[in-house]
Amino acid sequence: MTSPAEVPITSNDDVVRVRQVVRGLAAEVKMSLVDQTKVVTAASELARNTFVYGGGGTATVELVTNPATGRTGVKIVFTDEGPGIPDVDLALTEGWSSGSGLGLGLSGTRRLVDEFDLETEPGTGTRISVTKWTR
């Protein structure tokens, strides 16, 4: 599978496609089944957020290597040009979810990955980067 792979997110079907691309690359680096399941689930949550809250955007999925440890992993960057997240601390609070109750908030998703980085600007958009390393 090619890396990096850029997947546009403009429909519910694209959320499924993001999962499939992430699963393919996670299998390629021989991630354990549990870790594969975790990173694919995290990607599914974030892709849906990008579509529903961000008004669509892009997922960039790539294989990465940690120069310090030599471990390989899968990194996924979600970007959208939506309304942004007005209160990041609140969005990362355990159990918090915005009104529609569609997701579980970001805290659960963050637990499924090793690295989680969020940049958001009200009115400009959101960029969330996650990485899962092989063990």
Partner: protein
């Protein structure tokens, strides 16, 4: 959009999920099931997720919604065949699916419904 088929065995409805679920398919399944429960007067619903590789919050919430909905329509729901990796991920995600009955496989799920055990 693909639809998930609903099979009838006696007074049980069997839903075996064999595709990668997208959100619209999930919503359609909930509606289809509600209609079929009433139409067939089914007393039980089994959702077989043996082939399902991931359950995210949207899909997980579907199980809870179907369980509550079918209960209102006088039918009990059992989710069967959850993979170990899916169970681990769901707990870590923070979705414990309280209120949803599970069994390890289809056979145990059928027995659970047949036993007429009070699943509530």
């Amino acid at each position: 959009m693909e639809r998930v088929p609903i099979l009838k065995i006696g007074d049980t409805l069997l839903v075996s999920i064999q595709i990668d679920l997208q959100d619209q398919t999930v919503l359609a399944l909930q509606e289809d099931l509600a209609e079929r429960i009433v139409q067939t007067q089914a007393r039980g619903v089994i959702i077989d997720i043996t082939a399902v590789e991931i359950v995210d919050s949207f899909i997980g919430r579907m199980f809870a919604t179907i369980a509550s909905m079918s209960r209102l329509l006088d039918a009990e729901t059992v989710v069967v065949g959850m993979r170990p990796a899916v169970a681990i991920t769901l707990v870590e995600l923070g979705l414990s699916l309280g209120g949803v009955r599970t069994a390890l496989d289809l056979e145990r799920g059928m027995k659970l419904l047949d036993s007429g055990a009070d699943l509530r």
